[in-house]
Symmetry: C2
Subunit: 419 residues, 2 copies
């Protein structure tokens, strides 16, 4: 008898996490003898705890296929971390109760390293309670910080967006620099690791050189050295572009954006390291500045997603189901790079114990000696992940994205669960 | 005997101003009997004053064609306003001196309403000095505030970018709202007129409804009413998106971003009305916020330019040359809308006296009665301008934009001119 599957999206969403959802659902539909219905958690794991399940079988094949080009989380995501089995025992037992009520035999959890940990614990409690379950983690994070996998679905598209945006802004600044803006600052995501910051560096290449400085979360901010570097770029090229991580730290290791920093006019700064850096440049060097904070635009920009990223996102969803029907448990489909040139990759199996709660940091050898740029090794790594275009359909000039019906599954439990 | 042409880019650049340059240069190359070389001003009109001219005949046909998909100003632009003939007599006479030295018979000035005024004055001084010159203005501005023309080249692409970005961010926020961000604020350009703000409204349509509030520069900010509107959207839909003009004014008519406003924590704000609005929402309503400031990204985003905008930008460049060879003077090619459905437009001739220094404001009938949205009339106007895609070529995952050689023309004057 086929058993049902549960799928949930976890944590910050991406431009391509729905491509993984499409991979899971479409592949499950190919294994009718093994997998019954795919139920999605409304707003992630909270949907499972609250027995608020979405019946994806009520969606047409066309709607599910359209998830491939629709950004963000089609079923809703959540920031809700289950702790250890001891601390969160009630939640884990509730999950088992809901899964049992709906005959869930497969658990697909689509998220980062926190959710890899949750997925692992779900497989452990199921085993302890003698409940047969295949728990498979589906990797996703713009932060690119999951272990074992060469890269994370979601990252390549953010990388393409930030590099494209910086390149375009650089053309603008170059045009204006003679009489107006000389320094442009773009703030990007990645609080702990500088993967996205490193991708900004790809805006500048041999074909299209750009005077560009990067401020990594891995390199403590040295105002004097930074200002000297900016000044040198402006003197040599007429302008300078700066890509800064939201997680930039000062010499004492405090976040610049939260350190109660004061700008040149003595104003305290509220959020946004880009305006802070920009105001320092203007106050100390006198150069007119402009700054941008891309925020959610960068991780939602499906219109300029990387084709490689879309394909890999779909592939990890598909592989998760294939692992499940082969009876695998507590594993994650990982992307393994076979070669750089030509870029080739394959899906391999990673044990969740090696992924859960581990943060993969940007290698120091990806950052140039002066701390303000990227190395050839970084370029060889980043290049293929950003490659290929896969635009969504447009209607009346705008991307046309899919919204699902998200029909609820009838509840079977009399008990309520307060999240 | 053919005479040479001078072309210059003026003021803030756009994603498509180079398409107008391509229209001018390619069309001039078709009139060899009338037009000799096209010289471009390096950094706009400053290049003419300093006799720093670029010989566009040194660029290949392929390079000029590539300007059609290259954002920003290929020859450099400048913010440098010539004043009245009395105040700036020395500059105007210098222009004539340089034009005479290089046998310039055609003056093409690509800019907004300031530069339309300059173009008009150049035609007047030429006439006064008996110097034969056709002075043609080529319209350009993301602000969409030029008179006579139905719309301005550059605006449609910004409109497409901001509407796309808001729609994508809205999908993201909708996914996260259950446990995280409930209010997202996007700041857009357009200090005096709310044209770009109105375009944000296109993110929300019948197909893809989004709980969205717009804060126009035309509508004074009423904090109490705004907070009530945000709260109502969050209560009804779980989240709310806000598009705010950088030029939003408080009840006293002061720019919010510069009014020394203090956030909920008593911090003075430096620049950026988006973080200010976001902090007010969180302080008063308790909703978690995220905010973005697109800044130059919005006007440089050639990767998502409107095809209509690209075609019209090219067309006004082409028409400018055709006007010139027909001996027209002190005019501008304007875009005249023939019909909305199907959208049809043609190029007509506008006298510069009607364009110079006039700002075309957003009609009040484009703003909904409550002041937070757009009307059907606005949609009928905006829709066609954003329509069609015209992506640039990509290389290794990034847009590949053209850089010109920009070879200088040998100077003929012994005199220097200090700008």
């Amino acid at each position: 008898m086929p058993r049902n599957a549960f799928y949930a999206q976890s944590g910050g969403v991406t431009a391509v996490i729905n491509a993984s959802a499409a991979g899971v659902i479409e592949t499950a539909r190919n294994y009718e003898d093994r997998i019954g219905k795919v139920y999605a958690g409304r707003n992630g794991i909270i949907g499972a705890l609250a027995e608020d399940l979405i019946d994806t079988s009520r969606e047409t094949a066309r709607a599910i296929a359209a998830l491939r080009y629709t950004p963000a989380g089609a079923f809703g995501s959540c920031r809700y971390k289950l702790k250890s089995l001891e601390e969160s025992r009630v939640q884990y037992e509730r999950l088992m109760e809901v899964f049992r009520a709906h005959d869930i035999g497969y658990f697909f959890y689509n998220g980062g390293n926190d959710s890899a940990d949750t997925c692992l614990k779900v497989s452990q409690i199921a085993e302890k309670l003698d409940y047969p379950l295949c728990a498979i983690h589906v990797p996703k994070t713009v932060d690119n910080d999951l272990a074992v996998t060469d890269n994370c679905p979601g990252f390549g598209s953010v990388a393409k967006y930030v590099a494209t945006s910086m390149r375009e802004a650089a053309f603008d600044v170059a045009s204006m620099a003679k009489t107006s803006t000389k320094v442009f600052v773009l703030e990007v995501m990645g609080r702990h690791a500088g993967w996205i910051t490193s991708a900004v560096g790809m805006a500048d290449d041999a074909d299209t050189p750009i005077p560009l400085l990067l401020l990594f979360p891995e390199v403590r901010f040295d105002e004097t050295a930074f200002l000297a570097a900016v000044d040198a770029k402006v003197k040599a090229h007429g302008y300078c572009c700066v890509g800064v991580s939201e997680g930039l730290l000062d010499a004492q290791g405090r976040l610049l954006a939260e350190a109660g920093s004061r700008d040149a006019f003595g104003h305290a700064q509220l959020g946004g390291v880009a305006p802070l850096i920009a105001s320092i440049v203007t106050a100390r060097l006198g150069y007119k500045n402009h700054w941008a904070v891309a925020d959610y635009l960068q991780r939602a920009a499906r219109h300029i997603a990387s084709k490689t990223d879309v394909e890999q996102s779909y592939a990890v969803g598909k592989a998760a189901v294939e692992f499940a029907v082969r009876g695998r448990n507590a594993v994650m489909p990982a992307i393994t790079r076979v070669s750089d040139k030509p870029y080739r990759w394959k899906i391999t199996e990673a044990p969740l114990a090696k992924v859960a709660n581990v943060e993969k940091m940007l290698p120091r050898e990806f950052i140039s000696a002066d701390g303000y740029g990227i190395t050839g090794k970084a370029r060889a790594y980043l290049g293929p992940l950003m490659r290929g275009e896969d635009p969504p359909p447009f209607r009346d000039g705008l991307p046309h994205y899919q919204r699902l019906k998200n029909v609820a599954v009838a509840k079977k439990l009399a008990t309520e669960f307060k999240v």
